[in-house]
């Protein structure tokens, strides 16, 4: 059993993007604030703090979820992946980022990190998604700039590339 009282500041350790890191948190600190302000990883954005916009999506033990709906203390001892981890890796995930650029899937880029994290999870579970399924998952995010079209194309193309198909046969503009 672990207890953190309301005035306590405790040390939280977690596996963040493959490295063990730690920082201080109070019991009520949101994971978003912990990542951004305490650990300095500002790639995870905050767009609503009530679980609707998806900007704050990270992977918790591999699974995409809203970090604004989680306390920092809940992340203690868990594995958290953020967009900073994606950018650093050289594996298939770069396919998503490449496709985003090609299809102009971002304008202001504020929603992008969350969307990348959702699909890095989703595409690892579902290699051959239908466009409807992609839209359903994308439906957990709000993008105010792009109108979503480029995003859908980019994700479909990235999925194809990750399956080893040539980028041109799926979803190209």
């Amino acid at each position: 059993m672990r207890e953190v009282t309301k005035d306590e500041v405790v040390r939280i350790s977690l596996e963040l993007n493959g490295k063990t890191v730690s920082g201080n948190a109070t019991s009520r600190m949101l994971l978003t604030d912990f990542l951004r302000n305490e650990l300095g990883l500002t790639g995870t954005h905050v767009g609503c703090e009530h679980g609707v916009c998806g900007c704050c999506t990270v992977r918790i033990d591999g699974v995409a979820a809203r970090s604004c709906l989680m306390l920092a203390v809940q992340a203690d001892g868990r594995r958290i992946d953020t967009v900073e981890g994606l950018a650093a890796s050289k594996d298939a995930l770069n396919a998503l980022q490449r496709a985003f650029r090609k299809h102009h899937a971002l304008q202001c880029g504020f929603c992008t990190a969350g969307i990348l994290m959702s699909f890095s999870d989703f595409l690892s579970r579902k290699q051959n998604p239908e466009e409807d399924e992609v839209r359903e998952v994308l439906g957990g995010h709000i993008c105010r700039c792009t109108g979503y079209d480029g995003l859908v194309k980019a994700i479909m193309e990235a999925a194809a590339e990750m399956r080893g198909e040539t980028p041109s046969n799926a979803g190209a503009a």
Partner: protein
């Protein structure tokens, strides 16, 4: 938008969790997936003194078949239940309704029991529990009790759970609706709380059991016998619409809700009968 000060407790066992509830009572809230609770904490609509986080308790993480019931532990997420290999076979209705719960990202953390505990009048899981006549397992220091769905949810966001009790599992009868199940909901956007949701399963002797959510302060069920004429059925649905009443909110009026009941219930009954054939 930040939570008010609170203490955080993460028990390792259900017993410890129940002990925490016994200590804090109404001042504590159980935190499982947090997909409703955390948003309410951030908005400071809810200001508990303590949160008891049960999401890591192993004994609450299983889905199992117990006799003719499917028992889902309190830490099982909606995504895990949806991915349960036997779901389609043993709970075809839930397999249809569950994808409508929130979004991919919220189902990944939101729990089955949490949604039922929250008792939102338009949520899919409380409707499923009511339709399938499932039960809720409540545990406190003084023991365990099982409440039927109809006994558990008493109103909008209100349940018969005592302050010292936690839900350790919900139990759905297995193999209900295997001869026909249908679900449909109307929301302004995909993934929003339903304005009206309607579910139905084929019951004995050609009857259809129908549940309606989002119209009254909790899901309501009626039975439609096979012998009912079309006009009797229409009358019954008309009565249902008025009896549930509906309510006005920013997305829909009570009248629109009643109209949806009038139009969707027959469609859903038709769908169930079509698969029963």
């Amino acid at each position: 938008m930040k939570p008010a000060p609170l203490s955080y407790i993460r028990p390792d066992t259900a017993e410890e969790a129940v002990a925490g509830l016994a200590e804090h009572g109404a001042d504590a809230r159980i935190l499982a997936g947090g997909q409703s609770l955390m948003a309410m904490l951030n908005l400071r609509l809810v200001e508990p003194k303590a949160l008891i986080d049960i999401s890591q308790i192993d004994e609450l993480r299983s889905i199992r078949i117990d006799g003719n019931m499917i028992e889902v532990g309190a830490a099982v997420t909606q995504a895990e239940f949806l991915a349960w290999p036997q779901l389609k076979e043993h709970a075809p209705f839930i397999a249809k309704a569950l994808p409508w719960v929130g979004h991919f990202q919220t189902r990944n953390r939101g729990t089955v029991c949490g949604s039922i505990a929250h008792a939102d009048p338009s949520s899919e899981l409380p409707l499923s529990l009511a339709l399938l006549e499932g039960e809720v397992v409540l545990r406190s220091k003084s023991g365990t009790r099982h409440l039927k769905a109809s006994e558990f949810q008493t109103g909008m966001l209100q349940t018969a759970r005592r302050d010292d009790e936690m839900i350790t599992a919900v139990r759905f009868p297995a193999d209900v609706g295997t001869k026909g199940a249908a679900f449909r909901e109307v929301a302004r956007r995909h993934g929003d709380f339903a304005i009206v949701s309607v579910g139905a399963v084929a019951a004995d002797q050609g009857a259809v059991r129908v549940a309606v959510g989002g119209v009254a302060d909790r899901p309501a069920c009626i039975g439609i016998e096979a012998s009912l004429t079309v006009s009797d059925m229409t009358d019954r649905i008309e009565r249902l619409a008025w009896e549930l009443g509906g309510y006005d909110d920013i997305h829909a009026s009570a009248r629109y809700r009643r109209d949806l009941v009038r139009r969707l219930v027959p469609i859903i009954i038709g769908e169930v009968r079509a698969c029963a054939k």
